[in-house]
């Protein structure tokens, strides 16, 4: 995986290497804070994963799927007009996970885990989803590999994302609206865990982010490491050197840990994770878990957590459903504590401004999640220039984790691009129509 030109450098710092941290603990975080009923399944998963990582046949299967199904490697695109108009000339490279099959980085993880499910002899996968991206990716992998698929989704989200519900059903998945608790992503995870406890014999829980009990955080990272490995090779080839900084958005943190992995052991590369600041971190409507959360345990791992004084999980808020989660992966909590990665909040407004900026300068419609990384990148470029950096000699890689087709309705409403007061209905109709034509094109 490491590039030949840097192997010496790699070996010299292997002792403190951060990029292959194996868990189950990341500093004080991680572990397995979950019911005994699931321990045997977690052990089985861990053993299967560890064996697969060392099995050339499995590695070849993953590589083949990445290349011939997902369309990897994804491109590294220099965003020149975005750079000139919004970043003061600082060179910006976009890691184009939006170009993967199903439209985001999520496919990397679901293909890997679905292969593991088959190796374990499981015939059924279950998944949670917020906006539907991980649900769609899971349904896709299940269809490809002939597995039964059940997706848990907050009832409120099934209404807001009716189109993604239909996509999952077209792919053969069963979508179960979750009506308990706060009816959000965290409750979808709770329901998936309840299902798993009852059906663990034939079912694999295909968790969608780098959180959860061990081995999930390290395993999900492993399947996303390809993002960082490719980006590192590509920037060396295209710019002739490593970047000054790497940025990504962070909800649970899977796309972020994937690209960070490629650069964690390069101390000269600064790394930034941008959390969902919602209405602002001075309000109670945000999802800035690391910025304002406290350590706690949720969904199997110890990590930063948005919680009240009683340890009850607090509801998060973000315009981006994919970042709307009150927890964060334990490896990020550790990287934050040791200062290797800096985590900052980006508000809904900043993210949507960056969303529009990329649309207008590059002709790329980013996922609103990824727009958080772009907003952070704009802020970082300004800071670098203020600190005296020469713009054209400064390089930032931003992870464009997904495409924004799913967000057209939200964005058009945000920018008031529909005249009538019943804008949402029109947008929904337009989105449905748009998606209909896409579908026929895909055929």
């Amino acid at each position: 995986m490491s590039t030949p030109e840097n192997s010496e450098h790699r070996q010299s710092i292997d002792a403190q290497s951060l990029r292959h941290a194996s868990g189950p603990y990341f500093g004080a975080y991680g572990g397995r804070w979950m019911p005994e009923s699931l321990m045997a399944a977690m052990d089985e998963l861990n053993e299967t994963f560890e064996a697969a990582k060392n099995d050339p046949e499995f590695i070849a299967q993953v590589k083949d799927l990445n290349k011939n199904y997902s369309g990897r490697p994804s491109l590294l695109t220099e965003a020149k007009r975005f750079s000139e108009q919004y970043c003061g000339g600082v060179r910006i490279f976009l890691k184009r996970e939006d170009l993967n099959h199903t439209g985001s980085h999520k496919i990397n993880n679901v293909l890997g885990q679905a292969l593991l499910a088959k190796r374990m002899g499981k015939t059924r996968i279950i998944a949670e989803t917020g906006a539907g991206q991980h649900g769609v990716a899971s349904a896709t992998a299940a269809a490809l590999m002939g597995l039964e698929c059940v997706v848990y989704m907050g009832a409120e989200d099934t209404r807001r994302q009716a189109l993604n519900v239909a996509r999952m059903r077209l792919l053969g998945a069963t979508v179960i609206p979750v009506t308990v608790g706060s009816q959000t992503l965290k409750d979808a995870i709770n329901e998936a865990l309840r299902d798993w406890v009852a059906n663990v014999d034939n079912t694999h829980y295909l968790l969608g982010t780098a959180a959860g009990g061990a081995p999930f955080p390290a395993m999900v990272r492993y399947f996303h490491e390809v993002i960082g490995d490719e980006a590192r090779e590509q920037i060396l080839a295209q710019a002739g050197r490593l970047p000054d900084a790497v940025t990504a958005c962070i909800g649970g943190g899977s796309n972020a840990i994937g690209i960070f992995h490629g650069f964690l052991d390069d101390p000269e590369v600064e790394i930034y994770g941008y959390e969902a600041g919602g209405d602002g971190v001075d309000t109670d409507r945000h999802a800035a878990t690391i910025t304002l959360g406290r350590p706690g345990v949720l969904h199997g791992a110890k990590s930063y957590l948005m919680q009240d004084e009683d340890g009850q999980t607090v509801e998060s808020h973000s315009i981006s459903a994919g970042l709307d989660y009150p927890g964060v992966g334990p490896e990020h909590a550790y990287l934050a504590d040791i200062g290797r990665v800096k985590y900052e909040p980006v508000t809904d407004t900043e993210a949507m401004d960056a969303f529009k900026a990329l649309c207008r300068t590059e002709g790329i419609l980013p996922a609103i999640e990824s727009a958080h990384a772009l907003a952070g990148t704009i802020r970082l470029a300004a800071r670098k220039i203020a600190e005296g950096a020469v713009p054209e000699e400064t390089i930032i890689i931003a992870n464009l984790s997904g495409r924004g087709d799913k967000d057209v309705g939200t964005a058009a409403a945000w920018f008031n691009m529909i005249d009538e007061k019943d804008a949402e209905a029109e947008i929904n109709a337009a989105t449905a129509q748009n998606s209909g034509s896409q579908k026929s094109e895909e055929k």
Binding site: R32, S37, A40, K186, N190, R194, A198, T313
Partner: protein, 260 residues
């Protein structure tokens, strides 16, 4: 006030030739005062050990009846420190052992040692921890030793022999044997897996192995009592409290204990 432990109550039941009856109710459901009255009604109708559950935002091991009750308790304003008032309210009026069943984050948030100290002062016997396994329990083991509290961990039909051993070794008071692979909820029949789980616990040296999940009727108590040291009833009691208030809880407890 001397604290009554679950081990004492289970031993006393054994001396009478019967399994201990353990009853679960959520704290603050429907309100704090009623949850104390309901627990006292359990004690007056033959329940030996009472488990009070702390309502939590993410109860992954609970089925819909207990979820709905705890959601209501939280909506009615239940705060975690009220658990100490409830425990004290029960121990002052009864001679049962009072355990608290809790997901781990509320304890972690208050501080494991602080929680343990205040709980012991209120007369509590120990904690049942559905999402804390011995592997992660170093801080709790230390605090429970310091404050003289019982540690009840769970084992399941899926637990390997090594994990059963580890869990039995880390537990005190009793070992909670999960009867089936699933979440809490009343079922018409008790899973046949329960007996094997209890046997595994006894083989690993557990003095007290109690069975929970899916237990709702007197016939279940008798059936399980033939091989286990205690029988745990939760959802059926919560449903009774929801539908018929404190009198219904007392009546069901009397039926379960064979007094009615």
């Amino acid at each position: 006030m001397t604290r009554v432990t679950s081990a004492q109550k289970i031993a006393a039941a054994r001396a009478e030739g019967r399994p201990a009856l353990i009853g679960y109710l959520p704290a603050g459901f429907p309100d704090v005062a009623t949850s104390i009255e309901a627990a006292v009604a359990l004690a007056e109708n033959g329940v030996d050990v009472i488990e009070i559950g702390i309502p939590y935002s993410d109860p992954v091991m609970d089925g819909s009846v207990i979820q709905e009750a705890t959601v209501q308790a939280l909506a009615n304003g239940f705060k975690v420190p009220q658990i100490f008032d409830i425990v004290r309210g029960i121990t002052e009026r009864t001679d049962v052992a009072v355990m608290v069943m809790t997901y781990w984050n509320p304890v972690l948030r208050l501080g494991v040692d602080e929680f343990s100290r205040r709980f012991a002062e209120a007369g509590g016997a120990g904690l049942i921890t559905p999402d804390l396994v011995p592997d992660e329990a170093a801080e709790w083991i230390q605090a429970s030793e310091k404050h003289g509290l019982e540690r009840v961990f769970l084992i399941a039909p899926s637990s390997t022999e090594a994990r059963v051993q580890r869990t039995v070794d880390a537990s005190s008071g009793f070992v909670y044997c999960v009867s089936l692979m699933g979440v809490t909820g009343a079922r018409t029949e008790v899973s046949s897996a329960a007996q094997a789980v209890v046997a595994a616990a006894h083989n690993a040296g557990a003095e007290n192995a109690c069975v929970g999940l899916g237990v709702s009727r007197r016939e279940h108590v008798e059936e399980i009592g033939a091989y286990a040291d205690g029988v745990i009833v939760g959802t059926a009691l919560v449903a009774a409290l929801r539908d018929g208030g404190v009198p219904a809880v007392g009546a069901l407890a009397a039926e379960l204990s064979g007094r009615a």
